[in-house]
């Protein structure tokens, strides 16, 4: 078995509490499918047959997915606040091979084989997917106005070929200067530092990373702690490596005293493959005279940058709306056969429904209702003479006559009474809007 897939679906959606107060994040409907469906679909298309899903108990109950894969749900209770690394530690018994970690909020049609190929070819410790950060173009409803200043940038250093990850730091961690190790520059004199990249939270990790996590309990989050640690460790020499091997019999204590070096977990059967690269004439860096696979370099981190727009994580409200807007095109790419307008929807007036709107099952849409660029969930009742533009309407919503909805998000079970005129609003679940409200 080469890979095991793990989907992290236990997150709370801390950046969009308005939406997630009623619905847990993995179940948020995007294009009338729960958010969790998208990463699972990605894995299924790539050929995975089994996936481990880490989630909370109540989510699993509400989930109804039709996938051919065997889903292995692992529950973590609500009380304990577990980071992503903690979750991996929790399931480390199940992990026997290299692992592919996905976050539940990834909607993309990237070719997974490209990320994995980099991982395989270069025998890397970590392979991750990054995307060009989209420009925040529109203001999300429910948030007044001003864009927050971009202070959460990541500085990512890549080498000339664009494949090797050399440096990663978050702006928040740096005071005023960017500190780069000399050893990095000696080997890769040309380094491109990019700030416009966002992490897509898709990681391929080697098995020994999980072992390292098990031993090292101080790391709680993958993204913010483990990954930078791995990237930093690429170029530091494992002085303790050889010593560690010798002293193994002597004292385990010694090992614990020393900072638990990840190199000590790397099994030594890599040495079998050493003669081959010596004889081949490929080198991964131009900078200096060292051998290709320099002794100090045990962990390589590589990354794949996804150009193009079809990759997003759904973290904030703005992204959520953006994702919904992109979903119709995405679904086409994913080869979904279902028509955008569900069969059981009763639409009296087809002509008024725009071509990129998605209408869920059992939805009734009355006459003279025009729907453009919107997503309407299932079991909704939309009455007559309603104009809906750029909206996301979730399940079981009732919209009475004469309403005009623009740019809004309406959550489950809401009722919009007659004549309401709603613009750029976020309406929570079970709300009831009175007649002629604004």
């Amino acid at each position: 078995m080469e890979f095991q897939a793990v989907v992290m679906a236990a997150g709370g959606g801390s950046r969009m509490t308005d939406l997630t107060s009623s619905i847990p994040k993995p179940l948020l409907p995007v294009g009338n499918r729960p958010l969790l469906w998208y990463p699972l679909n990605l894995l299924e298309r790539a050929g995975f047959e089994e996936v481990i899903v880490i989630t909370r108990k109540e989510i699993q109950k509400m989930l109804s997915l039709d996938t051919k894969m065997k889903l292995d749900f692992v529950y973590i209770s609500d009380n304990v606040d577990m980071g992503t690394a903690d979750s991996l530690r929790h399931i480390h018994q199940k992990i026997k091979t290299d692992v592919l970690v996905l976050s539940c909020d990834l909607i993309t049609d990237v070719d997974l084989y490209k990320v994995v190929d980099l991982f395989r070819t270069h025998d890397a410790t970590l392979s991750m997917l990054m995307k060009k950060a989209p420009e925040p173009t529109e203001v999300a409803p429910g948030q007044k106005g001003k864009k927050k200043p971009v202070e959460q940038r990541d500085f990512i250093g890549v080498d000339d070929t664009g494949k090797r990850l050399l440096f990663m730091a978050n702006e928040a961690d740096l005071d005023e200067e960017l500190v780069i190790k000399r050893s990095i520059l000696q080997k890769h004199p040309r380094m491109h530092i990019r700030t416009g990249l966002m992490d897509a939270h898709l990681y391929c990790l080697k098995k020994y990373v999980v072992d390292f996590l098990v031993e090292n309990r101080t790391i709680t989050s993958l993204r913010s702690e483990l990954i930078p640690h791995l990237v930093r460790k690429q170029f530091s020499s494992p002085t303790s490596l050889l010593q560690g091997l010798d002293n193994k019999e002597e004292g385990r204590k010694k090992k614990e005293q020393a900072s638990l070096d990840i190199y000590s977990f790397i099994k030594e059967d890599n040495s079998l493959l050493k003669p081959a690269p010596d004889n081949s004439c490929w080198n991964d860096h131009r900078g200096d005279m060292n051998e290709t696979l320099h002794e100090g370099e045990k962990g390589r981190c590589v990354l794949k940058i996804k150009k193009g727009r079809r990759c997003r994580g759904v973290n904030t409200l703005a992204l959520y709306i953006e994702a919904n807007r992109q979903v119709p095109k995405l679904l086409l790419n994913l080869g979904q056969e279902e028509p955008l307008v569900h069969g059981t929807a009763q639409i009296t007036d087809r002509g008024m429904v725009g071509s990129d709107s998605i209408i869920g099952s059992s939805t009734q849409i009355g006459e003279k209702t025009s729907i453009k660029h919107s997503i309407i969930g299932s079991a909704c009742t939309i009455n007559n003479k309603i104009k809906i533009t750029n909206c996301i309407i979730m399940n079981s919503v009732t919209v009475e006559e004469g309403c005009c909805l623009q740019g809004s998000v309406i959550c489950n079970n809401a009722v919009i009474e007659k004549g309401a005129d709603i613009k750029d609003c976020l309406i929570g679940s079970d709300q009831r809007l009175e007649t002629k409200g604004k």
Partner: protein, 550 residues
């Protein structure tokens, strides 16, 4: 007259004149009765320098009769040659037999050389009979094989004469749809995806595959690969992306991966390890072949491994069998590659003298090792000129390794070789394979270097281990070669990619060859682990190897 008889007379001038042999002409003269006409007057010297024609014929006849008597005593085994013998004197010149011109040229020497067994005529007859029998056999076989033999050109191998009609490998039959369909079916059966060709090919090479590096085979496979072992997938990717390059490196990596495969293998019930393991290896080998065509070194290693597996005795348990196999693989690695490299390096650096200027081309692990060893283990001073060529630019790697060792190097591109050759004392080349007719198959550009070196009278030495010897015969670089990704030829300069739009131009084709064949007369010496042999001794080595393995 004396001069004409000189070859015959070599033996006896010392007797006749007491002078040293070897100067027949001048010493024949003083002998009285030297002329042919005077022969009857010197009956004593029956075996004299100038045997007249009549005497020679007489001698021949006597000897033949003696042999006949001997053979008749021995048995009837001599019967078949007899009728041939009778016919022979009548027809040596009538039937233009390939054996007869040399035989008749040897006629004057017939009398002097008492052949140990049959006479030349009888041997000739036997040969003829054998050849006719084989010809008849071949016709019969061809009639049987029918279609199978049709696209085959029987290879001119120097192996045994009743030739098995060898099929062309399908990797040189890309433009033959029938062969490609068979290949596709085979791959489907093994569940290995078929890699698509990329781009228009140059007409002369349309019978070869041309793949793109950007479209790896893993595109068509599921990600946790179940059919193909993950180590093999990784190896295939590393081959196709060019990370493992060079025939030694590829072979070593292949054998290591096979060791891992064998480790992870478990015999299914009701199956025998010796048969099942070979069957299990086949899809992996097809996969690697699709990623990048197998090199000759890899092919030989695979043949060896398959033979070892099928020769495993049935009595061994699975664990023991696996261990034994791993042991044989280790042995093969150690003997044929590692120790051979040491031996070659030792003999090669004997050839490096003080103040030598050595020219090397590209990146050959063996040549690099030789030069580094020569630098560290002897105190001879020499310098190296590294020649490089696009698009691979492998010479930079050689340069890096040599300079790191402290060897004085110069770096030029291949278009400059005629400028540097006047100061070069010898050329040291590596080889991908040595073919059965003595040609050297190596990185493209090697034959050019050999040619120019010949023009400048610089000795060309090729270093090659014996496990890379191949039974193929090639006189040109077209028939069996490898086409690399044509996009490698696109050059990026200041943001502009020259040749970037080559695919849109219908009349532009890019060719990126990987190997070329150097004819044997351009190579002066081949340094192998069996010693230093001339190029033409390769078939001998092959024959000896075959005998050894059987």
């Amino acid at each position: 007259m004396a001069e004409r008889e000189a070859p015959g007379g070599e033996r006896e001038p010392c007797r006749a004149s007491g002078a040293a042999p070897g100067r027949g002409v001048s010493h024949v003269a003083p002998v009285p009765g030297a002329g042919p006409g005077a022969a009857p007057s010197v009956p004593v010297v029956v075996q004299g320098p100038e045997l007249s024609r009549e005497e020679k014929l007489q001698l021949r006849k006597e000897k033949k009769q003696q042999k006949k008597k001997k053979r008749n005593e021995k048995g009837t085994a001599a019967e078949p040659p007899e009728p041939g013998t009778a016919a022979d004197p009548a027809q040596p010149r009538v039937t233009p037999h390939p054996a007869s011109p040399p035989a008749s040229a040897n006629a004057p020497n017939d009398g002097e050389k008492p052949p140990g067994g049959k006479s030349k005529a009888e041997l000739r007859a036997e040969r003829r009979a054998k050849q006719e029998a084989e010809r008849a056999q071949k016709q019969a076989k061809k009639a049987e094989l029918g279609q199978g033999a049709a696209p085959a050109k029987p290879r001119l191998t120097p192996t045994e004469a009743p030739s098995v009609v060898k099929r062309l490998p399908e990797h040189v039959q890309v433009d033959d749809p029938a062969a490609q369909r068979k290949l596709a079916k085979k791959l489907e059966r093994q569940q290995v995806p078929l890699r698509q060709d990329y781009g228009t090919k140059v007409n002369l090479f349309s019978h070869l595959h041309q793949y793109s590096r950007k479209k790896p085979l893993t595109q068509q496979m599921s990600i946790p690969s179940t059919v193909i072992h993950p180590a093999v997938v990784r190896l295939g990717l590393q081959y196709s992306q060019g990370i493992i390059n060079g025939s030694n490196a590829r072979c070593i990596a292949l054998l290591e991966v096979f060791k891992q495969l064998i480790r992870d293998y478990s015999t299914p019930p009701n199956e025998e390890l010796s048969r099942d393991l070979v069957a299990k290896l086949k899809p992996h080998i097809s996969f690697l072949n699709q990623c990048r065509p197998l090199s000759v070194s890899m092919g030989n290693a695979i043949k060896f491994l398959k033979k070892e597996i099928s020769c495993l005795p049935d009595t061994l348990r699975e664990e023991e069998a696996k261990e034994k196999l791993q042991g044989t693989i280790d042995n093969y690695l150690r003997e044929k590659i590692v120790l051979a490299a040491e031996a070659i390096s030792k003999s090669a650096f004997e050839k490096i003298n003080d103040n030598d200027v050595i020219l090397v081309y590209g990146c050959s692990s063996l040549v690099n090792r030789t030069l580094c060893d020569a630098h560290t283990q002897t105190d001879r001073t020499f310098r190296v000129i590294v020649v490089d060529s696009r698009p691979r630019l492998e010479g930079r790697e050689t340069l890096r390794r040599l300079v790191r060792h402290g060897i004085h190097c110069t770096y030029v591109m291949i278009n400059a070789i005629s400028y540097v050759l006047p100061e070069v004392s010898k050329v040291l080349l590596g080889a991908h394979a040595l073919l059965a007719n003595g040609s050297v198959m190596s990185r493209v550009g090697t034959s050019q270097i050999a040619l120019v070196s010949k023009a400048y009278n610089v000795p060309v030495l090729v270093c090659c281990e014996t496990y890379k010897f191949c039974e193929r015969v090639q006189t040109d670089s077209f028939v069996s070669n490898e086409l690399d990704d044509p996009d490698d030829l696109i050059v990026q300069r200041k943001g502009q990619a020259q040749l970037g739009g080559w695919a849109e131009n219908k009349s532009l084709r890019l060719l990126n060859l990987v190997y070329d064949v150097t004819p044997p007369d351009l190579v002066d010496l081949v340094i192998t682990d069996l010693g230093m042999i001339p190029c033409t001794s390769v078939p001998v080595v092959l024959r000896v190897k075959n005998v050894d393995q059987q």
